[in-house]
Symmetry: C2
Subunit: 121 residues, 2 copies
């Protein structure tokens, strides 16, 4: 990763664009060993992660990234901390959220190994 | 780490207790390869990290942890996502923050390899 900040910016744009467009397509970001902690619920593996995200109780969502900080990890990858706001369905008030992605690489390219999401009240 | 959630809870308690007590003592949590991104400012190494934290423009600070989620990483360590609130000096309004710690282990025990901190507005 020559330019890790550019990678992180591009990754988060693609991730949230996919999330807001068609959640089932988020499968491409995960692998069998991937972990998701979503509002303190823990799930493991691509099928379980996608099932969790697809099953969230809203029809539409729009994420807006406020900040995207990144550091290299020890695996030729990246640790990304996002803060932002999201709006679901017809709500008028956005919610603050924070999310961390740990990106590793395998033969097929970068993927999410660790994913932790929290709303911030 | 037999009980990673207990480790994460204990670590964050000790970290913020040290931060709020005597910031110079935070050196014990870092190593020469440690990275800190504090409000998007990046510093590397224990001396630079401690200098950054000690030099923050407040005299007193009190952190209160709201949530502490954790996952194992690939290095017999832990990836911890904290959300909470902090109050500096005589301010009356707490600020929301989020912080991620990537914990690795070496011969001397666990230490912080990645540290990213962001205020959430």
């Amino acid at each position: 990763m020559a330019d890790i900040q550019a990678f992180a910016t591009q990754f988060t744009q693609e991730y949230y664009s996919t999330f807001d467009g068609n959640r089932a397509d988020l499968a491409k970001f995960y692998r069998p060993a991937s972990m998701l902690t979503f509002e303190s619920d823990q799930v493991l593996g691509v099928e379980n992660i996608v099932a969790k995200l697809v099953g969230l109780p809203f029809q539409t969502v729009k994420h807006a990234v406020s900040t995207c900080d990144v550091q290299p990890n020890n695996n030729n990858g990246a640790l990304i901390l996002v803060t932002g706001q999201l709006i679901t369905d017809g709500e008028s008030n956005p919610l603050n959220f924070t999310q961390v992605f740990q990106i590793f690489s395998d033969g097929t390219g970068p993927f999410v190994f660790n994913d932790l999401f929290k709303l911030v009240y």
